[in-house]
Symmetry: C2
Subunit: 125 residues, 2 copies
């Protein structure tokens, strides 16, 4: 078992994003089936359109963003829930002057990211 | 894909708990590998010691509680992260005058709950 404050977990810069960091709160070394991550995007930040080979189950913790998932563009904020199927293009753009933070759960195992408007490749969300 | 407010999702009473409800935010009909649920425990509420046959990855959204996981008893609050391995006894007791709310992710598939101090059996967390 483990109990920790999310703030105590190392935050890594997401290369494919803008002003975006990722924390692995519960990783494959601990959870046998899926990983719980937290993303923090600063004002002005976000991620360009990309696809992943795994699905995302997300929960917005704070802040606001405009996101695109497939053909849909929506504004999300605290306590919104987002499901992004594997292979579906998606992107994020932070709105307002506060950080945008969300949880993103993915299955353990390999993930391939393809950034659709950029050649950089760093697993994002 | 789907985007929804957590508040729009039906909340079901957890029979094995006290003043406890559960929402399935992303269920097996949508997510192929794991389910994202939100638990809401009112002041005075909680759940008795029990085990599940699946692991829990949890994130505290609001409120405070004392929880027991195996031999450990800790107080948790907003932005704390809890990992409960499959088969590990655990319990919850809400502290203070505000609801205690947390996310709990479990793998899809059968789960068997065993309440250790009570004969009722309703899948909890």
């Amino acid at each position: 078992m483990s109990v920790k404050s999310a703030a105590s977990v190392r935050a890594d810069v997401v290369g494919a994003g803008k002003s975006t960091k990722r924390q692995v709160l519960i990783g494959p070394d601990e959870g046998p089936n899926f990983a719980l991550r937290r993303f923090i995007m600063e004002p002005g930040g976000g991620m360009p359109p990309h696809t992943n080979t795994v699905e995302h189950e997300q929960y917005i913790l704070r802040g606001r963003a405009r996101i695109g998932v497939g053909d849909h563009v929506v504004e999300v904020s605290r306590d919104d829930v987002v499901f992004i199927p594997a292979g579906t293009p998606h992107w994020y753009k932070v709105l307002g002057e506060a950080p945008f933070e969300f949880l993103c759960v993915v299955p353990n195992g390999p993930d391939r990211i393809e950034v659709l408007e950029d050649s950089s490749a760093d697993p994002g969300c």
